[in-house]
């Protein structure tokens, strides 16, 4: 039995850290060397001397923050060595380029799940099951009340929601990287054939996806649009930050929705202030987390990013899996 200090990967200053390699994973403050699981801003910070990620994540990051960062890239499954530790990326199914990271040292395997989902998503690589001894998993939706519907069902609901109110402009708020592209991909396969407009931040990410070979439906940049009347019956995708404040005054006769896993709970839906919620998530639901934990064959599991109390207790009681706590 080892003490917390001797774990290959541990929590330090609120971030995951591997001392042996002196490398941080998705650090929230500038460090020398950072492994980046994916290009969402809550997993990235400016000012690190060197970043390491998948090729796709590197391209998306540069698109978002400029070329001015030093970033080394590897393919999925390609092993590289730092201080004698073998490290490699595997697809995590969260967004384009997102990855799990595996460490092997002295025959001991560690796997950081990164943000992940198991659901089908045509805009990124499917989650790959990776075997490990130690698993560090996210658990954003770690309660059994979270059970995602198939994404095509949600897309059909969205299509119905828009077409049932032809006199309105339908606004869906969603993260501009990942969720927006997944929605566009799903909606393009429904009966909704009206115009789709996107905010500049989403438009930019759509182009990056296309450059990386992902087929994303053509949309019109909302900033190029002048006449409000023409927006009737169409769909506009916007980042959530614009849902508050005066931006909405640019439109007339609107209905609004938020696309997020949290929308599966009525109280949160009501409190959110949107007319409608679509429960579609790029994170794993309860079953998804359990499946990954079991299939990884990990004997020891850590959780972060979420309320892990119930999930941990359940795994210990029902599945006899050893759930460990990081010392903070």
């Amino acid at each position: 039995m080892r003490t917390k200090q001797e774990y290959l990967i541990r929590y330090k200053d609120g971030n995951l850290y591997c001392q042996l390699a002196d490398i941080w994973i998705d650090p929230s403050k500038p460090v020398k060397k950072a492994l980046i699981t994916h290009a969402h801003f809550d997993h990235f910070t400016f000012g690190c001397e060197e970043y390491i990620s998948t090729k796709e994540t590197a391209i998306l990051l540069k698109e978002r923050v400029g070329d001015n960062i030093k970033i080394k890239t590897f393919e999925y499954g390609e092993e590289f060595k730092i201080n004698g530790i073998n490290i490699s990326f595997y697809p995590s199914g969260h967004i384009l380029g997102s990855s799990q990271i595996r460490f092997i040292f002295a025959e001991e395997k560690w796997l950081i799940s990164g943000d992940f989902k198991l659901q089908k998503d045509q805009t990124c690589k499917q989650y790959e099951i990776v075997k490990t001894d130690y698993l560090i998993s996210e658990c954003t939706f770690g309660l059994p009340i979270f059970k995602w519907d198939e994404s095509n069902k949600i897309a059909n609901d969205i299509s119905k929601w828009i077409t049932n109110s032809p006199e309105k402009t339908s606004l869906i708020f969603c993260y501009s990287l990942g969720k927006a592209q997944r929605l566009l991909n799903e909606i393009s396969q429904t009966n909704f054939k009206g115009n789709i407009y996107t905010h500049g931040s989403i438009h930019k990410m759509n182009n990056s996806y296309r450059k990386l070979g992902i087929d994303i439906k053509d949309t019109i940049k909302i900033e190029n649009k002048k006449k409000i009347d023409e927006l009737k019956g169409s769909l506009i995708l916007l980042p959530p930050s614009l849902s508050k404040g005066s931006y909405l005054k640019n439109f007339k006769n609107i209905q609004t929705a938020f696309a997020s896993g949290w929308m599966s709970i009525r109280a949160l839906r009501k409190r959110s202030g949107y007319d409608k919620g679509f429960a579609i998530s790029d994170h794993a639901d309860w079953d998804g987390i359990l499946e990954v934990v079991k299939k990884s064959e990990a004997k020891n599991v850590f959780f972060h990013h979420g309320d892990s109390e119930a999930l941990s207790k359940y795994l210990v009681e029902k599945e006899s899996i050893n759930v460990l706590l990081f010392g903070k």
Partner: protein, 546 residues
């Protein structure tokens, strides 16, 4: 024509914010479904007497037993969701059963008039099996409505007003008529729906129904610019608002919550039956101190409300009175359009006539509301401040030249409530909220000093803004000392101003006092816990009042 359609209606109403759109959706629903299901829909939407077939707790336990889920896991989920019916619905999604769905289109009528009532005739084991069977045969999209009906918690953001408006639009008849037709007991049936949408107006049919109540608004500053003589002043009693109706010889007592409560107050019904005239009186029911001519505390009235067929000794112990303040109908003549000052004259005229008949003197159970005559507005304020002395909540101010319309119409009646009592108290416990506040800590307990100890004296959950709730929720999570299930004990650090209406001795509470309607009126970030009030301060406050 089905539970399925009704579930869709619920989803639509739940996700539309515009009133006009809701009315449109309801109208279309009524148009496309059959009368019996429509009448059930109205019954459910108005939430008039949603019966509870099983408790939310039972529902969760049942789920836990059937699907071998640990109870603590369900309880944890409940904290996030805040509604038992919804928790079970969400968990059922995880139980993707392969059994063939057979009940894909059960009618609302069959479900509510046969399937669910039949449950109460089964023994526990059979009942559990039947609920499981229904869970596994009803389509997933209908589970929420089904569970909500089972637990009697079906509520949606639709007011009676909206139903009234949509029916009114549907058949092109004024809202007032529809509103009146919807008053009182609504028994779901084809007849009740056809009565509701009948285009011929026949007032006879409304015989047993109360009029829609006129409600008072909170006082507005602009009223003080008017002459004091334009208004009628009454005490604001803290009782049960009620219409006392006698039509064709039959007396009925209707509360503002539209419940018929004849059985709880038989002595009043009996006395009023002897009056020769027919009438509709609007007034307040109270438990009355006949010696001192003031109302007893509301807590005594509570001893009468839920008790049907009270014994003679209960009737003597808690003597009731009906204080009439308005006359709405007399011998079949609807006089709501007559001005208040003239209605008052009629009211006084009939009362003196009724009281003259000594053989059935009603004055020991029914009296007319006394009026107050302040000289000017400052004088009105003085009356208001004195209202605690006679156990009233303040004043009701009524415009003399107003008619009796329905609802909370502006510019007719105002309530001028006495200022609340206040104490500064320390937050010591927090509990997770339910419903819309699920997942947040929104139920708080507050304490006062006793020597060097903090003693809990009140719980409150209203008064903070949404932003403050979120801020406090964050603080609570960071400053928890201990968790007991859903309750957290907290570091004593935050001081709040708590307002309440009444304070009295209570043996049931550790603090020795009980307060009525406690609510948070200010987050005193400027105060340290040592600045909070003590129990002694509370006792002094109590002395000052009595």
């Amino acid at each position: 024509m089905s539970l399925k359609k009704f579930s869709e209606l619920f989803d639509d109403l739940d996700s539309i914010n515009s009133t006009n759109n809701k009315i449109e959706v309801l109208k279309n629903y009524f148009l496309s479904n059959d009368p019996i299901d429509n009448s059930w829909a109205i019954y459910l939407l108005t939430g008039k007497s949603n019966k509870r077939f099983i408790s939310g707790r039972y529902l969760k336990i049942l789920f836990s037993q059937i699907y071998e889920y640990p109870q603590w896991l369900i309880d944890t989920c409940y904290l996030k969701v805040g509604d038992s019916a919804e928790v079970v619905t969400l968990l059922l999604k995880n139980k993707n059963n392969s059994r063939k769905k057979k009940l894909s289109n059960i009618s609302l009528n069959k479900l509510l008039s046969e399937t669910i009532p039949a449950l109460s005739k089964l023994n526990e084991e059979e009942k559990n099996l039947e609920i499981q069977n229904l869970w596994e045969t009803l389509p997933e999209d209908n589970h929420l409505i089904f569970n909500k009906i089972l637990t009697g918690t079906f509520r949606v953001g639709v007011s009676i007003g909206l139903i009234t408006k949509s029916i009114s639009k549907l058949i092109n008849i004024e809202e007032e008529i529809i509103s009146h037709r919807l008053m009182g007991d609504f028994k779901p049936s084809i007849d009740s729906y056809e009565f509701l949408i009948n285009k011929n107006i026949n007032l006879q049919e409304l015989n047993s129904k109360p009029f829609p109540f006129l409600l008072a608004n909170t006082i507005e500053d602009k009223i003080f610019k008017n002459s004091i003589n334009d208004f009628q002043f009454e005490w604001k009693y803290d009782g049960i608002r009620m219409q006392l109706i006698k039509r064709s010889g039959n007396v009925s007592l209707w509360t503002r919550g539209q419940e018929l409560v004849n059985e709880s107050f038989p002595e009043l019904v009996e006395k009023m039956t002897h009056i020769k005239d027919d009438f509709v009186l609007d007034g307040e029911l109270l438990v009355w101190n006949f010696k001192e001519e003031i109302a007893f505390d509301f807590s005594l009235l509570q001893k009468r409300i839920n008790r049907k067929s009270p014994t003679r000794s209960i009737q003597i112990k808690y003597p009731i009175i009906f204080i009439a303040y308005d006359l709405l109908e007399i011998n079949g003549r609807d006089i709501r359009e007559i001005l208040l000052e003239n209605r008052r004259i009629e009211l006084e005229k009939y009362f003196s006539k009724w009281q003259l008949k000594t053989e059935n003197n009603i004055s020991d159970i029914c009296k007319i509301c006394d009026l107050i005559f302040p000289k000017d507005w400052p004088d009105a304020l003085t009356y208001k401040e004195k209202s605690r002395e006679n156990n009233t909540e303040g004043l009701i101010i009524k415009k003399k030249t107003s008619i009796y319309s329905s609802g909370r119409k502006k510019g007719i009646w105002w309530k001028y409530k006495v200022d609340p009592m206040q104490l500064d108290a320390v937050l010591i416990y927090a509990k997770g909220g339910s419903g819309r506040r699920a997942g947040l800590y929104t139920d708080y307990s507050f304490a006062l000093w006793k020597d060097k100890e903090l003693i809990k004296f009140a719980s409150a959950y209203s008064g903070l803004t949404n932003i403050e709730i979120k801020e406090l929720d964050k603080w609570i999570r960071k400053n928890t000392i201990e968790k007991f299930g859903p309750v957290r004990s907290l570091k004593p650090e935050m001081v709040f101003e708590i307002s309440f209406e009444k304070i009295q001795i209570s043996k049931r509470h550790k603090s020795g006092i009980a307060v009525r309607f406690p609510r948070i009126t200010k987050w005193r970030k400027d105060k340290k816990i040592n600045d909070a009030d003590s129990l002694e301060n509370a006792y002094e406050l109590m002395k000052k009042i009595s």
